[in-house]
C-alpha cells in the first residue's frame, strides 16, 4: 500500500519497522525519547519500544558516538541521532578516526555497522551554529558512507539500507524536508546505497542537486518546462559511494551541467563532483560546469540575510538560463 506521508513520518516508519525486525537495532541520542527529537522525528516511538531501544542520552556527542561504535563492534546496530548536523563536529574524531578506520586498521577483522542520522541545512532562522551543510567534510575519510535523501520515498528506503549496511553510515536529513510529502509504500523496502536517481528526465541541461536542493531544482525544472526548456535533474542520493556513471551519462547527453548544493562555495561536495565531471566529460561539455551553492559566509540569523546566503530557486534558474545562453 502506498500513501502520502511526510519525510519525518517516513524516517519514523522505517525506524519502527527495522527495529521490530531486528532487536540488535537501537536508537541513541539526545531527547529522542519522549521529546521525540528536536524535529519530532521519533515522536511516539518510545511508547512502542522502551527506553532500552530508544535511549535518551546526556548531552555528550563524542561519548554517544563512541558508545555506538563499541556496541556495533559487539554485533549490535546502533542508530545515533545528532540533534543538528552542526554538532557532528564534536564526535568527528570518533567518526573519522575510529568508526571509519577500524575495519581497515584491524585488517578487515572487525566491523562497525552503525548509522548517524542528523538534520542539516538552514532556512529557519537558527543562525550560524545550527544551519550548516557539513556533509562535505566527511568525503575524505575512506570507510564512511554518506547518504543525503531528498524525499520521503528515498529517505525510507535509504535509511533501511543504511541500517543494514555493515559500515558506518552518515545519514543527513534536512530540516526543511521533514514536512515534504510523497507517496511512500507502507511495506519496508530498500534503496541501494551508491545509486543515483534521475528525478526528472530532460535533454537540454543536467542539474545535479543534493538534499533539499533537489526539491528546489525540480521546481525550477517544472517552471522552465513551460518555456520548452528540458531540464534533467539528477540526485546522487549518496555522495559516497558516488554513482558517477549515472551523472556523467546525463552530462554527456546534455553537454551542460549545473550543480546545486547548500554548502558554501568553497569546499563542498560539488567541488569534487565538478572536478570529476570535467575529468570524465571534458570533450562533451559545451561550457564549464556551473556550481550553485551558499555564499562563503556563516549562515546569518535574519531571514532575508539567510535567504541571500542560501541558494534559492531564482539563483538556480539564473544559472541554468545563463549556461544555456552561453555561445558555444
Amino acid at each position: 500500500m502506498t500513501r502520502e506521508i511526510s519525510y519525518a513520518e517516513a524516517v519514523r516508519e522505517c525506524l519502527r519497522q527495522q527495529m521490530k525486525a531486528d532487536d540488535k537495532i537501537f536508537m541513541l541520542g539526545e531527547d529522542v525519547g519522549l521529546y521525540g527529537g528536536a524535529f519530532g522525528v521519533s515522536v511516539g516511538l518510545i511508547s512502542e519500544f522502551d527506553s532500552e531501544r530508544i535511549m535518551d542520552t546526556p548531552i555528550s556527542e563524542q561519548g554517544i558516538v563512541g558508545l555506538a561504535i563499541g556496541a556495533a563492534l559487539m554485533g549490535m546496530r546502533p542508530v545515533v541521532e545528532i540533534m543538528f548536523s552542526d554538532f557532528i563536529m564534536l564526535p568527528l574524531e570518533q567518526i573519522a578516526n575510529q568508526a571509519a578506520k577500524i575495519h581497515y586498521m584491524f585488517g578487515g577483522k572487525a566491523k562497525v555497522p552503525m548509522v548517524i542520522r542528523t538534520p542539516g541545512g538552514g532556512g529557519i532562522g537558527l543562525a550560524a551554529q545550527h544551519s550548516q551543510s557539513i556533509e562535505g567534510i566527511f568525503l575524505g575519510f575512506p570507510g564512511l558512507k554518506i547518504v543525503l535523501p531528498s524525499s520521503a520515498y528515498d529517505v525510507k528506503g535509504l535509511l533501511a539500507s543504511s541500517i543494514k549496511d555493515d559500515n558506518p553510515v552518515l545519514f543527513f536529513e534536512h530540516k526543511l524536508l521533514y514536512q515534504t510529502k510523497e507517496d511512500v509504500p507502507e511495506k519496508p523496502y530498500e534503496i541501494e546505497i551508491g545509486k543515483a536517481h534521475i528525478k526528472r528526465q530532460g535533454s537540454d541541461i543536467s542539474v545535479v542537486a543534493t538534499s533539499y536542493m533537489v526539491q528546489k531544482s525540480l521546481k525550477v525544472a517544472q517552471k522552465l518546462e513551460s518555456e520548452g526548456i528540458s531540464v534533467e535533474v539528477v540526485d546522487p542520493r549518496t555522495i559516497k559511494p558516488l554513482d558517477i556513471d549515472t551523472i556523467t551519462d546525463s552530462v554527456k547527453k546534455t553537454g551542460k551541467a549545473v550543480l546545486v548544493e547548500e554548502a558554501c562555495y568553497t569546499g563542498g561536495f560539488t567541488c569534487f563532483l565538478a572536478s570529476e565531471i570535467m575529468k570524465h566529460c571534458f570533450d562533451w561539455l559545451d561550457a564549464p560546469v556551473v556550481r550553485v551553492t551558499s555564499l562563503d559566509c556563516p549562515i546569518p540569523y535574519e531571514h532575508n540575510l539567510e535567504n541571500v546566503v542560501i541558494p534559492d530557486e531564482a539563483k538556480i534558474e539564473k544559472a541554468i538560463r545563463e549556461l544555456l545562453a552561453k555561445r558555444i
Binding site: 539526545e30 519522549l34 535518551d56 556527542e61 543562525a127 550560524a128 551554529q129 540569523y301 532575508n304
Partner: protein, 321 residues
C-alpha cells in the same frame, strides 16, 4: 561580607524585573510574528543571573549560553540593542547576523551567548587565563546549564582551570531539565556541584531562586577566586518555567509542575515578599519600579520594530577581521 544596601536590593529587583519583562515581551512578539527563528527564555531563572553578576566588579567578565538574555541584561546590556538583535535588525548587537543565541558584547565584558551547549566553557576559562597572565584582576563567571556539564569540553576546561588556579567560576544553572531530559537521568549525582571533587576545586549547591543567597555566595567565592585560590563550581537550583525554546511541545513534563514552581518558588515574588516584609520597599515602590521597567521594554520593542534590516549587500561583511 558587608550588609547589603538598599540600593543593591533595589538593583537586584529591577534587574530581575527587567529580565522577566524582557522575556515576556520576546515571547509575545514571537507569537505576533515579529521574531523569526527561536529563543530560549530565562523566565523563572532571573535570580541566578542577577545575584551572580551583581556580585562582580564592572570590568569582570561573563560567558553565557543559548538561554542568555538574562545574563546579558544582568551584565548591563542595552535592552534596545538586545531586542533589535532578536528582531533581526541592523541596529542590534550583531546587526541581525547573530540573533538570540549569539548576542555578545565583549568590550563590555560579555563574552557572548553560545548556540553550542558548553561551547563557552573553555572560552571563558581562556579569558580567565588571559586575565591572570595580564594581571588585570578580572574574574570570569561561566554560566552553563545542568546539561552542559556532561560535555567533554567542560571537563577539559575545569581541569585546566584547576591546575592553573584560574579565576573562573562555573555557575551551573540547574533548571531541572536539559531540553526534555530530567537532570536525574543525565547524571548520577546528588548535587551537580559534586563534580567539583573530580578536579579538587570548591563546589557548592545553593538555592538559585533566592537572589540574595546567590549574591552572597558568589560574592564570597569571587573573593577567593580573585585571590588566586582557583576556580569554583556553583550549582544554582532553579527551574525553567517555559518550554525549552519557543517551539517546545513539553511532552516530557508532568502537568502542573511549572505552575507549582512558579507559584511557590518564583524568584521575583519571593524577593518582593522579602523586601516588603522587611520594610525595604513598599508595594507601591515595587509597582513604580515595574512600570518604569515596562516602559523600558516598550521602548526597546519600539526601537526594534522601527529599526531597519541590514541591507542584503552587507551580508558578507564581517567574515574576516
Amino acid at each position: 561580607m558587608e550588609k547589603v544596601s538598599r540600593n543593591l536590593l533595589e538593583h537586584l529587583l529591577v534587574m530581575m524585573l527587567r529580565i522577566r519583562q524582557f522575556e515576556l515581551a520576546v515571547e509575545k512578539n514571537f507569537q505576533l510574528g515579529h521574531i523569526y527563528g527561536t529563543a530560549h527564555l530565562a523566565i523563572g531563572q532571573e535570580a541566578s543571573a542577577v545575584g551572580a553578576i551583581s556580585a562582580l566588579k564592572p570590568n569582570d567578565l561573563i560567558s553565557s549560553t543559548h538561554r542568555g538574555h538574562g545574563h546579558c541584561i544582568a551584565k548591563g546590556a542595552d535592552l534596545k540593542l538586545m531586542m533589535a538583535e532578536i528582531f533581526g535588525r541592523s541596529t542590534g548587537y550583531c546587526k541581525g547576523k547573530g540573533g538570540s543565541m549569539h548576542i555578545a558584547d565583549v568590550s563590555a565584558g560579555n563574552l557572548g551567548a553560545n548556540g553550542i551547549v558548553a561551547g563557552s566553557a573553555a572560552i571563558a576559562t581562556g579569558a580567565a587565563l588571559a586575565a591572570k597572565k595580564m594581571g588585570t584582576g578580572q574574574i570570569v563567571i561561566c554560566f552553563e546549564g545542568d546539561g552542559a556539564i556532561n560535555e567533554g569540553i567542560w571537563h577539559e576546561a575545569a581541569n585546566m582551570a584547576s591546575i592553573w588556579k584560574l579565576p573562573v567560576i562555573y555557575l551551573c544553572e540547574n533548571n531541572q531539565y536539559g531540553m526534555g531530559m530530567p537532570i536525574k537521568k543525565a547524571t548520577n549525582l546528588e548535587k551537580l556541584s559534586d563534580r567539583a571533587k573530580g578536579y579538587n576545586i570548591h563546589g557548592e549547591t545553593i538555592d538559585g531562586n533566592d537572589v540574595l543567597a546567590v549574591y552572597k555566595t558568589v560574592s564570597r567565592i569571587a573573593e577567593d577566586v580573585r585571590a588566586g585560590k582557583g576556580p569554583a563550581l556553583i550549582e544554582c537550583i532553579t527551574y525553567r518555567i517555559r518550554g525549552h525554546s519557543l517551539r517546545d511541545a513539553q511532552r516530557y513534563r508532568p502537568e502542573g509542575e511549572a505552575k507549582k514552581w512558579l507559584d511557590t518558588y518564583c524568584p521575583i515574588e519571593r524577593f518582593k515578599k522579602y523586601l516588603t516584609k522587611s520594610g525595604y520597599l513598599k508595594t507601591g515602590d515595587i509597582d513604580a519600579l515595574l512600570s518604569s521597567v515596562n516602559k523600558e521594554i516598550e521602548e526597546a520593542v519600539k526601537f526594534a520594530l522601527e529599526s531597519p534590516f541590514l541591507d542584503a549587500s552587507r551580508v558578507t561583511e564581517d567574515i574576516y577581521a
